[in-house]
C-alpha cells in the first residue's frame, strides 16, 4: 500500500557561498574565532501531509516557494532537518527527463541504461513497447541520440520514463513534450499513469492543469502551506480532450 506521511517536516537548505566550500576557510575561521555558522534558508517549514492511495495532490505557488524542494524531500533526495518523512511504495520521481542520457549511444542502449538506472531489467519486449510509443521508425533505434532532433529525443526520453506504473509518482511541471500530436499522446499517457499510480504529486504553475488532474491543491508560500483546496473528482476525460484540441 502506497502512503506518504509527513509530520512537522522542516528542511533547512544550506546556502553555500564560495567560501563555504573551502576547508581552509573553515579551519582558519575556527582559528580566528570567526563565526563559521552556516547560513541556511528554511525551504520547507513545518509541513504536514498525509496521503493515502488515491490522493492526487497539486502543488501551486510562486517560484521559490518550495515546490520542487518538497518533491525532492519526499523522494528522499534531501534529508529532513526535523520532523518525520515516511513513504511506502516505490517512488518514481520525474523531476527532469534528461538525467543519465548519453548522446553518443544509440537510442536502444540509452533506453536500456535508463531502465537499469530505475532498477528494471531491460528486455526486448519492453524496448519494443517503448519504441512503439515513440512512433519513430524502427531503424532509428540503432542511431546515436545526438542525431535526433530535440522533439524526437523528448519522445524517447518520455516514453522510457513513463514505461512503468508507479506507486508514488512525483512530477515537477507537467512535462512539456514538444510537437503537438505527441503532446496529446503524452498527456494521455501521463494521465493514465496518474490513474494507475496510487499517489501522485504534481508541482505546476498551471492552475487549469492542476484542477483537471488533482483532487486537492496545496498552495505553498515560503515553504509553508498557505491554503489547501479540496476539489471534487476530476472532470471526465472527453471534456479535457476537447480542451486540448481546441
Amino acid at each position: 500500500m502506497a502512503s506518504i506521511h509527513l509530520q512537522d517536516a522542516c528542511l533547512d537548505y544550506p546556502l553555500y557561498g564560495a567560501y563555504d566550500f573551502s576547508l581552509k576557510r573553515r579551519l582558519l575561521g575556527h582559528l580566528f574565532r570567526q563565526s563559521s555558522e552556516m547560513r541556511t534558508i528554511r525551504a520547507i517549514d513545518n509541513f504536514s501531509i498525509e496521503a493515502k492511495a488515491g490522493a492526487r495532490i497539486g502543488l501551486a505557488g510562486p517560484n521559490g516557494s518550495g515546490k520542487s524542494t518538497l518533491l525532492r524531500l519526499i523522494a528522499g533526495v534531501f534529508p529532513a532537518t526535523s520532523g518525520r518523512v515516511e513513504t511506502t511504495g516505490n517512488i518514481v520521481p520525474l523531476l527532469g527527463l534528461g538525467a543519465g542520457v548519453n548522446l553518443d549511444f544509440v537510442a536502444a542502449d540509452n533506453i536500456n541504461l535508463l531502465l537499469r538506472i530505475s532498477g528494471r531489467k531491460p528486455t526486448q519486449a519492453i524496448l519494443d513497447e517503448i519504441w512503439a510509443f515513440t512512433e519513430l521508425e524502427e531503424r532509428m533505434q540503432r542511431l546515436p541520440l545526438r542525431m535526433f532532433s530535440s522533439g524526437m529525443l523528448m519522445r524517447v526520453l518520455f516514453a522510457t520514463a513513463t514505461a512503468f506504473p508507479a506507486d508514488i509518482l512525483l512530477l515537477d511541471e507537467w512535462l512539456s513534450v514538444v510537437d503537438e500530436k505527441f503532446s496529446a499522446k503524452a498527456e494521455q499517457r501521463l494521465r493514465k499513469m496518474v490513474e494507475t499510480a496510487a499517489i501522485v504529486i504534481i508541482a505546476s504553475h498551471d492552475h487549469a492543469l492542476l484542477r483537471r488532474t488533482c483532487n486537492s491543491i496545496i498552495n505553498l508560500d515560503h515553504g509553508r502551506i498557505a491554503s489547501t483546496v479540496a476539489l471534487d473528482a476530476p472532470v471526465p476525460h472527453h471534456l479535457e480532450l476537447r480542451e486540448i484540441t481546441a
Binding site: 527532469g96 538525467a99 548519453n102 541504461l113 528494471r120 519486449a125
Partner: protein
C-alpha cells in the same frame, strides 16, 4: 520469446503444497525448549497444508541434513556461541541460497544472523512471516547494532506473529509495525496431561513439592528460586540444562540446600509430564522480558497445577492471571516468591481451585487447534497476497524492481560503469585498449631507463613494473574520478533520487574494467619473460583484493570530502603525484632506502607489497599485511561515516 504453459500437466499433478522454511538458530536434537516446541508444533500441525523445512545452526557436527518428525532439517556448522548467537559464518550464505526453494519464509526472531540477510535486501522474492518470540534483552549495549537490522526485517515482513497482544504494546520495535502484528497464543495439548487413573491424590495435603522447568540461563531467574528456598521448608526441583548449572550448584551449596533443592537436568518429555502431575506448585521465576509467554507454565496449567509467576511486561502474567490461576510476584524478589509459594503450600483447597481454573483456561483459551488455525490463517493470507501481486505483476510489462538496498545500488553502479566502458568503444574501435598501448609504451620507456640505472637485468623486472603501473593507474584514476563524480551526476541524484554512493562506487567499477584492459600488458610480459609461477599468482590474489577494497574505501571518503570542500581536490591531485614518486612503484627495492621512515610509514609501500611480494617470492609479507589491515579498518570506519553523511550530498552539488 515463447512462453510454454502446459495446463494439462498442472491438472494431472496433485496440487502442490506450498513450502515453508523455518529459520532459527538451533533445533532438535541439539536443544530442547519452548521456542523449539513451538516450531515443531507448527511443522507437525500444518503438515497437511504446508511442506515444512528447517534451517538452523548446530555445534555438534554430524549430519548436515537430518529428518526429525518427518521434517527436513538442514544444520549449518557453528563454532560455538558468541554473545548468545551461534558463530556460523556460512549461515547467511546458506539461507540466501535456500530462500528461492520455498514459497514462504518463517523467521523465528530474535535471530540477528538471519536479519543480516534480510537487511541487505536479499530474498525479497519470497514473502516473510516473523514469529516474534522475544526481544533482545541481554547484551543491551550492543542493541544499537542489531536494532536497525531487526527493524529492516520487520519492515520487510508481510506479517508478524506474537503470542500475546500485550507484547505489541510493550515492545517499542513492534509498536512501529503494530498493523502487521497478529496475536496467536500458543496452544497446549491438554490430553497429554490427562490423569490415567484415580484423582484421589490430585492435591496432596502434605505436599510441598515445587517444580520449575526451563533452560538454565540467567533470564529464567532460577537463582531467585534457589534463594527463595532458603529458611523455608518446601522442596524445589528444577528440570533443564544449561550454562548456569555450575553457578546454581554453587548457590545451592552456599545456602546449604542440597537436601531440598535438586537440579534434575534434562528429562524426557514423558518424564516431564509425570513430574508436572506430581508437583504441588509450578513456579516460573523469570526475571526479564526475554520470557514472552512461558509455554512451560501453560503445560503446567494443562496438568492442573497452580502457578507462581512474575509480573513481567510480557504475556507471562496474562497467560496465568494473578488471583485466578496464579499468584504473580515482582520479578527478582526471593522473599515475595517464597511467600507466594508458601501461601499455596499451606492452602491445599486454594491449590485445587487454582489448578482447576488453570486447566479450564488451558482447555478453553489455549487449544492447539486455535493455535494451528491462527498460524495457518496468517500463512495462507501471506502466500495468497504474494500470489496475487505476482499475478498482477505478470499482466504488466515486467515490473521487476531491483532498486532497493545496497544490492540495488551496486547493480546500478555496475550498469553505469559498464556503459562508461562501452562509451569508449563507441568512440573508437580499440576502446580502452588505447590506454593499454599507452601503458605498454610507458613500461618500455621506463623499463629501459631504469635498466640503465641499476645493474640487474631490466627484462626480468618488466612484468612487475607493468603490473605496478597498472595497479597505480587504477588507484590514481579511481580517486581522481571520485573527486568529481558527484558533481558530474548531479541530475541523476537530484532528479531521479538515486543514492549518491552509487556514483562513487561507479568510479571503482569503471576503473576496474579499464584496469582489466590494461592488465593485458603485464600478463603478456609475465607469460613471456618469467618462469610462470602460478602458485605465487594465486597467493597474490587475496592481496590484490585487499588493494581494490582499500582503493574503493579511499575513493568513497575522498570523493565525498572533495565534493563538500572544493579546495581539497587540488590537494588530492598533488598528493597523488607525490605518492607516486615516494612509493616503490617504478623504483625497485635496490634503488630505494628500504629503512627510510617515509618508505616504512607510507601505506602505499605496504599496499603494493601485499600482492607484489607473493608474486615475486611466493611468500606473504606479514608486516605489510597487518599494516594494510589496520589501514583498512580505519578506512572502513571513515567510509561508514562518509556514507552516513552522503545523505546530505544533494546540498553540495
Amino acid at each position: 520469446m515463447i512462453r510454454i504453459e502446459p495446463p494439462m500437466i498442472v491438472v494431472n499433478e496433485p496440487v502442490r503444497r506450498p513450502s515453508v522454511l523455518h529459520i532459527f538458530k538451533v533445533y532438535y536434537p541439539d536443544l530442547f525448549g519452548g521456542t523449539l516446541t513451538v516450531i515443531r508444533d507448527i511443522c507437525a500441525s500444518l503438515k497437511d497444508t504446508f511442506n515444512a523445512a528447517v534451517l538452523v545452526c548446530s555445534r555438534s557436527g554430524g549430519e548436515r541434513q537430518i529428518v526429525i518428525n518427518d521434517v527436513a532439517v538442514e544444520r549449518v556448522h557453528s563454532f560455538g556461541d558468541v554473545l548468545s548467537l551461534p558463530a556460523a559464518p556460512t549461515y547467511p550464505w546458506r539461507l540466501w541460497r535456500r530462500i528461492a526453494e520455498h514459497d514462504l519464509l518463517a523467521l523465528h526472531a530474535p535471530f540477528p544472523l538471519a536479519d543480516l540477510v534480510f537487511a541487505f535486501g536479499l530474498g525479497r522474492t519470497r514473502p516473510l512471516v516473523v514469529h516474534w518470540h522475544a526481544d533482545i534483552v541481554s547484551h543491551a549495549a550492543l542493541r544499537f547494532l542489531v536494532e536497525p537490522l531487526m527493524r529492516r526485517t520487520l519492515r520487510r515482513a508481510s506479517a508478524i506473529i506474537v503470542s500475546d497482544p500485550v507484547l505489541v504494546e510493550t515492545t517499542p520495535l513492534l509498536q512501529e509495525f503494530a498493523d502487521k502484528c497478529h496475536a496467536v497464543p500458543f496452544g497446549v495439548d491438554v490430553a497429554k496431561y490427562d490423569r490415567p487413573a484415580a484423582q484421589a491424590d490430585d492435591v496432596n495435603a502434605r505436599g510441598r513439592l515445587v517444580l520449575a522447568c526451563g533452560r538454565l540461563v540467567p533470564y529464567k531467574g532460577f537463582d531467585v528460586l534457589v534463594r527463595s528456598a532458603h529458611a523455608r521448608n518446601f522442596e524445589v526441583w528444577i528440570v533443564g540444562e544449561g550454562r548456569e548449572r555450575d553457578n546454581l550448584e554453587q548457590l545451592i551449596r552456599d545456602y546449604g540446600l542440597q537436601d531440598r533443592v535438586r537440579l534434575l537436568g534434562s528429562v524426557s518429555e514423558s518424564e516431564r509430564v509425570k513430574l508436572m502431575r506430581i508437583a504441588d506448585v509450578f513456579v516460573m521465576p523469570s526475571v526479564t522480558n526475554a520470557e514472552t509467554f512461558g509455554l512451560v507454565q501453560l503445560e503446567a496449567m494443562a496438568a492442573s497445577r497452580p502457578i507462581v509467576n512474575t509480573a513481567l511486561g510480557t504475556g507471562v502474567p496474562h497467560v496465568a492471571r494473578d488471583g485466578l490461576e496464579a499468584i504473580t510476584v515482582p520479578p527478582g524478589d526471593p522473599t515475595a516468591l517464597a511467600d507466594a509459594i508458601e501461601t499455596l503450600i499451606n492452602d491445599p483447597e486454594r491449590r485445587r481451585r487454582m489448578g482447576q481454573a488453570a486447566r479450564h483456561r488451558a482447555v478453553t483459551k489455549y487449544s492447539t487447534t486455535a493455535f494451528k488455525e491462527g498460524v495457518e490463517t496468517v500463512y495462507r493470507k501471506v502466500v495468497a497476497e504474494e500470489a496475487a501481486t505476482k499475478d498482477a505483476g505478470s499482466s504488466a510489462p515486467a515490473p521487476h524492481l531491483q532498486m532497493a538496498g545496497p544490492v540495488g545500488a551496486i547493480r546500478i553502479a555496475a550498469a553505469l560503469a559498464w556503459s562508461d566502458m562501452r562509451h569508449r568503444y563507441v568512440r573508437s574501435l580499440l576502446g580502452p585498449f588505447w590506454m593499454s598501448i599507452q601503458m605498454a609504451i610507458m613500461v618500455a620507456v621506463l623499463g629501459s631507463v631504469i635498466g640503465h640505472l641499476s645493474n640487474s637485468s631490466a627484462m626480468a623486472r618488466l612484468p612487475m613494473l607493468a603490473a605496478s603501473l597498472t595497479a597505480w593507474t587504477f588507484l590514481n584514476s579511481v580517486v581522481l574520478d571520485a573527486t568529481t563524480a558527484l558533481q558530474g551526476s548531479a541530475s541523476l541524484i537530484k532528479d531521479r533520487a538515486l543514492p549518491p554512493v552509487i556514483f562513487l562506487l561507479q568510479c571503482t567499477f569503471r576503473q576496474a574494467l579499464f584496469a582489466a584492459h590494461n592488465a593485458v600488458v603485464p600478463l603478456i610480459l609475465w607469460l613471456a619473460l618469467t618462469p610462470r609461477d602460478f602458485g605465487g599468482a594465486i597467493v597474490a590474489l587475496p592481496g590484490l583484493a585487499l588493494f581494490v577494497i582499500c582503493t574503493m574505501a579511499l575513493s568513497l571518503v575522498l570523493g565525498a570530502l572533495a565534493t563538500r570542500y572544493r579546495d581539497i581536490k587540488p590537494i588530492i591531485e598533488s598528493s597523488l603525484t607525490l605518492a607516486f614518486l615516494a612509493s616503490p612503484i617504478i623504483w625497485t627495492s635496490e634503488m630505494i632506502d628500504r629503512g627510510s621512515t617515509v618508505t616504512r610509514l607510507n601505506p602505499l609501500t605496504h599496499l603494493f607489497a601485499i600482492w607484489r611480494e607473493p608474486l615475486a617470492t611466493g611468500h606473504v609479507a606479514t608486516t605489510s599485511l597487518i599494516y594494510v589491515l589496520a589501514c583498512l579498518a580505519v578506512l572502513a570506519v571513515a567510509a561508514t561515516v562518509t556514507i552516513a553523511h552522503l545523505r546530505k550530498a544533494a546540498f553540495w552539488i
